[in-house]
Symmetry: D2
Subunit: 363 residues, 4 copies
Amino acid sequence: MKNTFGQSVCVTVFGESHGQAIGAVIDGLAPGITVDNDFIASQLTKRRPKSSIDTSRQEKDEYSILSGVFEGKTTGTPIAIVIPNENTRSKDYSKIRCLARPSHADYSAYCKYHGYEDYRGGGHFSGRITAAIVAAGAIVMKALNEKGIKIGTHILKCAGISDSAFSNIENEIDALSKKDFPTISDIEDKITEKILEAKLQKDSVGGILQTAIIGMPAGVGEPIFDSVESVISHALFSVGAIKGIEFGSGFSMADMLGSEANDQLEIKDGKIVTKTNHNGGINGGITNSMPIIFNCVVKPTPSIAKEQDTVNFINNKNEKITIEGRHDPAIVRRACVVVESMCALCIADMLAQRFGTDYLGGK
Amino acid sequence: MKNTFGQSVCVTVFGESHGQAIGAVIDGLAPGITVDNDFIASQLTKRRPKSSIDTSRQEKDEYSILSGVFEGKTTGTPIAIVIPNENTRSKDYSKIRCLARPSHADYSAYCKYHGYEDYRGGGHFSGRITAAIVAAGAIVMKALNEKGIKIGTHILKCAGISDSAFSNIENEIDALSKKDFPTISDIEDKITEKILEAKLQKDSVGGILQTAIIGMPAGVGEPIFDSVESVISHALFSVGAIKGIEFGSGFSMADMLGSEANDQLEIKDGKIVTKTNHNGGINGGITNSMPIIFNCVVKPTPSIAKEQDTVNFINNKNEKITIEGRHDPAIVRRACVVVESMCALCIADMLAQRFGTDYLGGK
Amino acid sequence: MKNTFGQSVCVTVFGESHGQAIGAVIDGLAPGITVDNDFIASQLTKRRPKSSIDTSRQEKDEYSILSGVFEGKTTGTPIAIVIPNENTRSKDYSKIRCLARPSHADYSAYCKYHGYEDYRGGGHFSGRITAAIVAAGAIVMKALNEKGIKIGTHILKCAGISDSAFSNIENEIDALSKKDFPTISDIEDKITEKILEAKLQKDSVGGILQTAIIGMPAGVGEPIFDSVESVISHALFSVGAIKGIEFGSGFSMADMLGSEANDQLEIKDGKIVTKTNHNGGINGGITNSMPIIFNCVVKPTPSIAKEQDTVNFINNKNEKITIEGRHDPAIVRRACVVVESMCALCIADMLAQRFGTDYLGGK
Amino acid sequence: MKNTFGQSVCVTVFGESHGQAIGAVIDGLAPGITVDNDFIASQLTKRRPKSSIDTSRQEKDEYSILSGVFEGKTTGTPIAIVIPNENTRSKDYSKIRCLARPSHADYSAYCKYHGYEDYRGGGHFSGRITAAIVAAGAIVMKALNEKGIKIGTHILKCAGISDSAFSNIENEIDALSKKDFPTISDIEDKITEKILEAKLQKDSVGGILQTAIIGMPAGVGEPIFDSVESVISHALFSVGAIKGIEFGSGFSMADMLGSEANDQLEIKDGKIVTKTNHNGGINGGITNSMPIIFNCVVKPTPSIAKEQDTVNFINNKNEKITIEGRHDPAIVRRACVVVESMCALCIADMLAQRFGTDYLGGK
């Protein structure tokens, strides 16, 4: 459904990078959820550029909640969140209007929208829109936490530097939630150094994010088509930079034998668990109560200052392009909270489908 | 929507491994598409076990089309396809009814369906259901071919043996369409040997499939949430064994610089193309007219004859399990046509949304 | 979604009047619901022609349930029901292939399907398809009854003869459920006489049906767009003959003052009730625990034996048409169980959305 | 989907009567549609109270378009429209917080939202929200007009006074579009007098609206479940006051014979038309190119100043209520443009499904 996602808890997003505002409408969320503005603000802060490894475009992200919240709690009717755009410098873009920035949506969007698209700063395809997803996700995340469900994402790999994988998940999620630079091991400096190196070369880097979701009850998911993997992957591939996702041991299962990849089961502390978690907490598209684990790859930021070959897609000529403007040499750090937020929306939707529209709420 | 997928062209699937029949209903397909029963049969044959590396369960897959086809062509109203189940040996399963087969959906389905699920042979979670998807996909595939769109899938890797990646795509797709064992290089014997080795060890293997779609017009896809990647990944993660998907260069982009990963553009033969295709034909969730390329990982078949640890999930006790019955030591070969078929349904849906419900039809 | 309806409990229908079979797939129904074949058969019997006021086409409606039911209970996975077509006499139709039967879908379907539609007996637009809806609805109806929810429909008016409106609803629903000819007052003979009179004149009659649903909890409905009225009207207007619907006092509210139309409230036996029920149990699109009441109008059967003016829509010429074949001079009687069945599916869907996918089931 | 409606062109609404703002997001609209702010404003003016027969609450309805419009034209990405609330007097409502206003959604909403609902002024169930629908509909209406499709609604009946039915439809639609008080005959004064009489009695009146849509191509509609009647009725029953809808001759067909109700066909000026239009331009759920005609009933405004019996739904006690605040003694006049606007959204959606996402746009 284009810009609306979800069956029971739905989110609709709108906005362009250099338009008046971006925003989101969350519908179907249970009534009685406490809306914690400090938490929303802190999540938005995690997404915001803050250092030399990020873009220099600064936005305050001063969101307004226009509806659906009354006396500090969700009403059960749609919550509209609007975040004005500020600090836009559209002139940066106008001179390259007809040039397809390589690996951007300029040309494909032109083919779809016939030139009517708002091309400034990537328009609707800008990462800017993810701010609305983060705000929406923050409201939902709090409600999930109340139910004992926690979501955390860290940079598993960036610019050739690898982080430790999740092992002691709950503690790691708690620790990550307080970090600006979400890694499990102490590798921020190394990564930063590599990113700045790329930036100096007018280049950019990508990476891999790892996400864990704990506390999910078993028996959630709506196969075959709304398997947990289907829903999460659908949501995450809406984030422009993500080009791959794997659940549990994912692609490395190609090299395992069945006897290695199978998650044998046991009773532990009276509960049914698996000894390994190669399936990432999901069997047959349904949760099995083990942590949901997945990795997604974030491609290098396509906006780089190096000269590149491209075409003018209006007069069909070969051209050179040098992308000016303020760009992130790496967005992996900022993408973590976006992935977490999209996940929170997916999880809330699956729980509401399974247990009804009141499940996450105050009653 | 659980067992219905698609917005404009939709498929609904039903059935259990050992029930009376499985089937699919395709809705929204354009009127006037020629239904080629030979092609449907040949696609079903590709999915059917045929040698020592497959299960010994044999099904004739004698489908009936109950509706939606008149005088050899689609009518535009729902096409119901039913494939009876035969050769079921339910006794193989009853003795392990309460034992969770590791990495199967037995326990997670029990948590969702409270023991009412048809547990025989994996029930609704069996790969058996994919036969219906193949039959449905075959009808659509023919219509896509008429529009110049071709889809091909090969085994990129299995049991440690790697195939060549797509390079001369159209020819390779044509060649693959005629093969029982879909690889580009001549590696069938090597892979077969490895699979039989695993089988002898009462074990199984997995692999990676690579799919290419050519002939897609630029400007198709419904971002942000119905990006081409979102729709295809959603569909593919409905296939039980698939645990990861990557578009274009996917996870390997984590180690590239922006200048390496970016697909620079040029005019070639008067058309706008990219010099590389790291983005797999999709930018901002919209096709750019380059081939759509993706890989997906198929985990090793979880049913293995080796003894494994598990639990009895009804009395909550630790147990051992030895899975009898007839199982595939590798399903990568049979999965290729399933992936192609799901893709065909996704592509048809996206085209119908974009260009209207007549697009693929006789008018 | 064309031939799939519902959000949480969905039904997909397929088939044509003279094709191989018609059928339905119910998805999302809770596991553990007892499937009562006697009840399904008895509901189908109510829809079947049985006397001189109905068509002489006889179908046994020997349905098969192909999936989703195991050991007599729903599994929670899709239930496919197939009803073969028999006793089709396609030659009745071929001679009028290019003539638009007045008030039928022949011409509008031709414009949509470009001549590829199965025109025999109305094809997909035949009332025949409602047999599948009745079978599907019967499964759901039983589950609703277990929850204390009852649905009844009677002929409020037919051929100028009026029935009493619902007053002592529960008793009336119980009585109606046992009747072949569902009226509250003893007017069967009078109506039959009028219908036979029309038949003799090679003509047909229509009527109004009244439906009541009792036992619905307050607080169900998903406004603003999935109001209870929206969902029920959407479903009912899928039945070809229905051209109007009104909830509660409906159109007669146009002539009331607010003080007359308002349903004042009171506490009765400790419960909140309204003194009148002009709103038909729904306020703001949400149930208020009062009976849901609505009327729908069934137009006279368009197939009449009288000569009529029409056009040949292929060569664009004026023509005369005399419709042969076996037709109902009135379908109001047979439509009652169809309306009840569609309602049952709507109600089940709304309850599952509100209270989760287990709500109607065995756990 | 609760507050999102449509398959290809979708609208999402949000807001409460006394919250910060109301609004709508239109998604899927073709790129290149000219956005005519004067027309939007003039449509909003038609909905606004303007005389003694309307509420004295005055809103300027100064909408902002936050996204999806660039250089005066639609971009093809979501259009967010926000209309701030002003002139709210919440104190009017707080004293009756626990008292169910008869025929309002207070009690049913309380049962659904458990007291977390924003009860002020009816909250999300207020007619206030229809301003957003009117603004959204106005954008779409202009695009329909460009395609030769026109929609008009008049007061067919109010307070016992009847208007002429549509007869010379195109002229009448054109005339209605310029009127504040949309009637075909000159009956404004008579109706006004009756409304003021009711107001004096602290009472209110209802009425019937008649809508015509001309210029629709034949072959549009997605049966069986997304029949044209299904989609329009679904949308209209989202408007709180509407309790009945009938297409073509609707309920009066109950008293016709088939030979009277059937629309015989003829070739006229080389085109296929029907001699009558009892089916309201729709056969089998698909347009036949004749005008789509329907009537809907608007119940008397439930807010009346007369004392009424009610209950306190929190302490379960019988009470009296006298509704203060500023209310409309009749909303039929203001409802006309709301019905037209909802229709425009439905029609745009059906056309986009049928002919693709570019159909209404600039290319």
